[in-house]
């Protein structure tokens, strides 16, 4: 497949064929990740800048490892280690990086639209590693790939996303991807953590976790940011844990083979019971492994595409 996109900003840019291609390719790279020598020369000589203005363990390491396993040179830039701290604008940071002629910039930033802002100004590929509340397409793709490895097909599957939906780029991207793949999507959250006009989204909305989990095939738990209580969106964290934290009893009427997922990092005992994170139904660590394979796939697709000249 000749990849026709310069940038990966959000899931809606991709069609079903492209997603299927990503999954197929990721499966092959997953195999590379099991070899004693975890390296292929596909991106030798390519430069990938990892511009993480917001902190990250998983995504950043995952992209870094993905780039290195494909033999690319990766360069890391964080907020504290950069002149963003001195007030340098995003625009200037981007132009400065571009002047060094990277092949791709992977960006995570606290503002929605930041990835698009860069993509519109840079000639290199821009891959969105999470922009504000807006989108985290690579997370959705790795979540989708993880489930794809288990289920094969999403037809007839129901997935519930549980937690702070309003502020979640993971939720937004997963809703896009899962509905595109044919799954039924449920959202469960207190009303204060649901986005405005959520009734226009192609989802079913619940406020009761047990009901939301009836017959469900997978639950994706989202991290609750502890600042939400300060913002007056929640009474307190204990209330949240008691009412919305996922525990085994909530899953009594779920599908017997229900899978538990979490993009990480987790607040054990808050949004997810500690034992659920570690149980046999948990795919949380599989997600991490998938993440490297999916990001290898994306770097490969975006950096080896044939540029279409005007």
């Amino acid at each position: 497949m000749n990849w026709r996109h310069k940038d990966l900003l959000e899931i809606s840019q991709l069609d079903a064929d492209e997603i299927a291609h990503v999954f197929e390719t990721a499966a092959r790279f997953a195999e590379v990740n099991q070899r004693p020598i975890k390296k292929v020369p596909i991106l030798k000589g390519k430069s990938v800048v990892l511009f993480f203005a917001e902190a990250s363990t998983r995504t950043k390491t995952s992209f870094d490892m993905a780039g290195k396993r494909l033999s690319a040179d990766t360069f890391s830039l964080t907020k504290s280690g950069s002149s963003l701290q001195k007030g340098e604008s995003l625009k200037d940071t981007a132009l400065t990086l571009q002047a060094m002629n990277p092949d791709a910039i992977v960006i995570r930033h606290w503002d929605s639209g930041a990835a698009r802002f860069l993509a519109e100004r840079l000639t290199c590929s821009v891959i969105n590693a999470g922009d504000g509340w807006h989108a985290h397409p690579t997370q959705a793709l790795l979540d989708g790939f993880t489930l794809h490895q288990v289920w094969g097909s999403f037809a007839g599957k129901t997935v519930c996303i549980l937690g702070d939906i309003a502020h979640s780029r993971v939720a937004r991207s997963n809703v896009e991807l899962l509905t595109m793949l044919g799954a039924r999507v449920r959202l469960c959250a207190p009303r204060t953590l649901l986005p405005a006009m959520v009734q226009t989204w192609p989802v079913q909305v619940f406020s009761d976790v047990t009901k939301a989990c009836e017959g469900v095939d997978a639950v994706i738990c989202l991290r609750l940011q502890l600042e939400r209580q300060q913002a007056g969106l929640l009474p307190d964290l204990r209330e949240y844990a008691c009412t919305y934290g996922l525990t085994p009893r909530h899953l009594e009427k779920a599908n017997a083979d229900v899978k538990i997922m979490h993009p990480g990092p987790m607040n054990r005992g808050l949004e997810i019971a500690s034992e659920l994170a570690d149980c046999g139904a948990s795919l949380i660590l599989d997600q991490v492994a998938s993440g490297v394979a999916v990001r290898m796939t994306l770097l490969h697709l975006y950096l080896t595409r044939t540029r279409i000249s005007a």
Binding site: K91, A114, G132, A166, M197
Partner: protein, 437 residues
Amino acid sequence: MAHVDCLIRNVSWEDRSCDLFIGEGRVLELAEAGTVAAPADMSGSEIVDAGGLTLLPSLIDAHVHLREPGQEYKEDIRSGLSAAAGGGFGQVMAMANTSPVNDNASVTRFMLQKASEAFPHGPWVRPVGALTVGLLGKELAAAGELARAGCVALSNDGLPVENTELFRRAMEYAADFGLKVIDHCEDPWLGKGGVMNEGEVSSRLGLKGIPTTSEAIQVARDILLASYLDLPIHLAHISCRQSVELIAGAKERGVKVTAETCPHYLLWDESRIESYDTSVRVSPPLRTRDDVLALRQAVRTGVIDILVTDHAPHAAHEKEVTFADAPNGISGLDTALSLTYELVRSGELDFADINRLWCWNTADIFTLPANRMRPGDPADFVLFDPDLAWVATAGALLSKGKNTPCLDKEVPGRVMAHFLGGRAVFSRLETITLKRS
């Protein structure tokens, strides 16, 4: 008829062909074309054929931010008035959120001084004094001093006033000096931190939203106060149906409320933010299509009394940031008439409406001079070519503020000449010079 200094034949006035007679800087007569003969003695006079150009009174913009003193890199009084002149505005009411704030006579006098240095014959700055000291919403500003220095109204714009008791006292105190209060209606807590309208688009884009209710809550408060005190109140930049419905109800009950909206709320909705385009980040934000339709109807029926630009220039680099980091504001003086003309073209409004919405109603509300095209009125007028589209390039915009979604786009209709007291303050015409005797 007194001595005619200039006769402009064949102007289009409210879609009728007319002749305009001018003498000693005043309108002598505006007559249907060919019905009034020129006097026998026309020596030293100019006779010009306007070729059907549209005649408008010189317009009044009741809501601009000229940024001087303090933020001259965005705009200064000279560049702002240049844009006003070229945009057809002979009077602009300049808001007080300068630095220092215009809450005292020195700043008011400074602004007037700067204006008369740059443009001794107009366009004119009409300062709007701060409602509260420093716009902080805690203490009343000295309305009497501001009135004597030349302020024509008071406002806390671009900030709302949270303290209802203080707002009540400010309305009362201002009234003693014949000054109206213009209120920026926004609940300071509901939607705090929001950057666009709260709704379907903000949800999808992952941007914090401000619900329309935030504006409507203070609109309701102001209406209730105006009713209770039997005092007038003018509501700034109305952006939504909820507010329109409250204002309509209040007017029916005889409450002394007047209201304004801007061309951007009549033309554009929140869908323009899909691309995170900072040129449409504005406060209050662009709302839904339904709100746009409600505002158009409100303008047609008179629920909304006037149009204003809320001219809010910013330096280009300030808007070249992520959406959440961008300052609010659209630079509007250069394009206001063209954008309004889009509504004329689509049949929403006609030129008679423009006279009322952009001049006469504004003059009535704030007791300002205006050219009603009656004998003796100042010869303050605009010649506008509706058929001449132009591209709003950075060079074509006279304001320092290029932050408009019209940038580098074609807009319809262009001001060809602008006269104040019969003297050209702006002209792209070679043929009309208009001497003043």
